[in-house]
Amino acid sequence: MAAPNVRTSSFSRNISVVSSSPQIPGLKCGPNGTTFISTGIRDLDRILGGGYPLGSLVMVMEDPEAPHHMDLLRTFMSQGLVNNQPLLYASPSKDPRGFLGTLPNPGSSKEDKPTAPDLDQGESLRIAWQYRKYMENQKSSIDDYSNDFDMRKPLERQFLAGRPIDCVSLLDSSDLSVAEDHCATFLSKFPRLCIISFLFDGHLLLFKLVNSSNIASIGRIAIQSFCSPLCEYSDKESEMLSFIRLLKSMLMVSNAVAIVTFPPSMLSPSSSTRLQHMADTLLSIKAIPDGDKELEKLLTGYKDINGFLNVHKVARINTQVPVILEAKTFSMSLKKRRFLALECLNQAPVDGSSGTSYGTSGSCSGSSKSGALDF
């Protein structure tokens, strides 16, 4: 007979997130041996399960009518600079360095930050007395991993000066060789352990490419408006596809994350679909119509919403288990006009007396008609 197990509860907690890596700030260990870096937006980190995993390729599908992909890029780049991670930025403008002037600064004091309802002290969360001992203090998020960025303040000079930032203009390149060279030299600084097995003449040869067990440093690559019609290579779809394929293969053996934004309507449908398939994490932006009465009735906070963010794919590395998100569409808004927030779409309170019914929202709003509520 087995000794009685001393367990505090019949449920065992599923600990999937370990405390952050002590070596380098800005990294977090994730499940299945992956390491995350912050996206720059706390809500997005939470939605994606921690952040962007190292070695992944993030693609953002732009909406030509809305500039919100720039905000995603800005927070990504700022987070990298705040965490002292080298940055490579490519864009189809003549002077990409100018974009660095629009990067946001981390929000400064506690009062500025939007406070989530905190659950730690037990005063505000009222639980039954016998369960109090299981109450775990919810720590506020680790400050050196991610920051809340104040979109109105430009990034301080201390973060920009002396940091390794490489800016490339894609405007005049007729093919992508310039971009390829820059990416290759940049990524060679962040090698990762990689074993490739190689079948040669019937014999199995094992190659150990790079031997670095500690993560020395992390790199971030941001490519903006990759298929912009202003670039000369925008006609050559197969070249663009092979560039992204090359980038993805280089990323797999590096400790870096690349974020590429592209307007999918600039490509033929088949190329657009192929690019989307190559992404590890796929997000898209959608513009919101202004002054739309239907949407105003449907959503709370319609006036504050600037656009929608859809999460199509979340990166899963070293596992076959997919992530099933509760919601795939989030609204992008600015809290206190400064901090980017991503929220689930919430239905506006239904006006019972008007008797309208929302058939298509998929929620139980059929009882909006006034009358007895049947329980």
Partner: protein
């Protein structure tokens, strides 16, 4: 609403921003972009003559300059060679330089219509547009508008990246206040149209009235209806706003001999809302407002008193809530007691409690065995 386009074009962009740009799209079934351009042209011209804007450079590709001058004359705007407010770049007469002209090197000073012989050299086209504009307004800070007749011709001779480069260069030039062009979308691939929409800030398109999708009509009737409805349809405009939102406006248009007439939408059918497709899943709001949070704090829960050692008033669902969130206004509807809970937004929940029928008899209380 077409006035709002016109006003945006007339006012131009802010300092440091790219100039607003309008794409007018037409299709084979509603080929009226020319009428829309002429309408805008007439309005811009009258505003220039009234002194509200400065100059206009018209680049003609699909019609000869005399067509436009004639059109303006019909509208009462006389353009002579000494007019200082308009310049026309003629890319219609001889775009590829096939006709030999003996005197190519002599420039006769500022003239109204300038011949452009090499349409495929976009850099030269850009500089001639800017030079023509500068002739009118000088080199300082005054700005002029640019109207391009039809981008289809440009795309015929040059590739998409070069054309979009030219348009973006025009937009980013400090002296260009606004820019508009027209495009026939049926002549190009969709990605060309998308690329032009990408670089413009306003997009206007013409949608004809569809014939009724009634299968019982025969072909002759359909033809008759199509012919009748040919000059009519809806004019939709999408504005890109700075915050990242899109404003969509619509009007009805009607083309006749004098040009295009725009009127607000008469019929009650509204534009099909794209909202349903946008929102796949909307959740209920589970966040509490401040007021609701305060009320929640006040409610005493049954298990809390066990630790404190004192008994407290417990809400057991039988009494109406007295304070705060609800305003109980009992309806006198027969002998049933109903609670009307108003949520402050004008909605009402009318709840008839079953347990009010019976007396709160302790013998029948199912919760009796709980230590409350």
């Amino acid at each position: 609403m077409a006035d709002s386009i016109f006003r945006k074009l007339r006012d131009g962009g802010e300092e440091g921003e790219l100039a607003p740009a309008l794409t007018i799209e037409e299709t084979v079934v509603s080929p009226f972009a020319l009428d829309v351009s002429c309408y805008l042209l007439a309005n811009l011209s009258s505003s220039i003559l009234a002194g509200k804007s400065k100059g206009l450079v018209l680049v003609t590709f699909s019609r000869s300059p005399s067509f436009y001058l004639q059109f303006l004359k019909q509208r009462g705007i006389v353009v002579s060679s000494s007019s200082k407010w308009i310049r026309v770049l003629d890319c219609y007469t001889d775009p590829l330089g096939w006709i030999d002209q003996p005197s190519t090197g002599v420039t006769e000073g500022p003239s109204l219509v300038k011949l452009n012989k090499c349409v495929s050299d976009l850099k030269r086209l850009f500089s001639s547009v800017i030079d023509a504009g500068r002739e009118m307004v000088g080199d300082g800070k005054t700005r002029f508008s640019v109207a391009i007749d039809s981008v289809n011709e440009l795309l015929r001779h040059s590739s998409m990246p070069l054309v979009s480069g030219l348009l973006t260069d025009l937009r980013s030039h400090a002296q260009v206040s606004s820019l508009f062009w027209s495009l026939n979308t049926d002549l190009h691939q969709e990605k060309v149209t998308n690329a032009l929409e990408y670089i413009s800030t306003m997009k206007a398109n013409l949608e004809p009235f569809c014939p009724s999708p009634d299968g019982k009509r025969n072909a002759l009737e359909n033809l008759f209806l199509a012919h009748q409805d040919f000059g009519k349809g809806r004019f939709h405009v999408r504005f890109k706003l700075r915050k990242g939102r899109v404003r969509v406006m619509s009007e009805e248009y009607h083309v006749d001999q004098t040009g295009i007439n725009l009127s607000p939408i008469s019929s009650a059918e509204s534009v099909i809302a794209a909202t349903k497709s946008l929102i796949p899943k909307v959740h209920f709001n589970l966040q509490l407002s401040e007021k609701e949070r305060v009320e929640k704090e006040k409610v005493v829960l049954p298990f809390e008193h066990q630790d404190h050692g004192k008994s407290t008033e417990i809400y057991d669902g039988r009494r109406t809530l007295a304070d705060g969130k609800t305003e109980a206004t009992p309806l006198s509807s027969g002998e049933l007691q109903a609670d009307v809970v108003s949520s402050g937004k004008g909605g009402e929940i009318i709840y008839f409690r079953d347990s009010d029928d019976e007396h709160p008899d302790s013998d029948e209380d199912p919760d009796d065995d709980l230590d409350i």
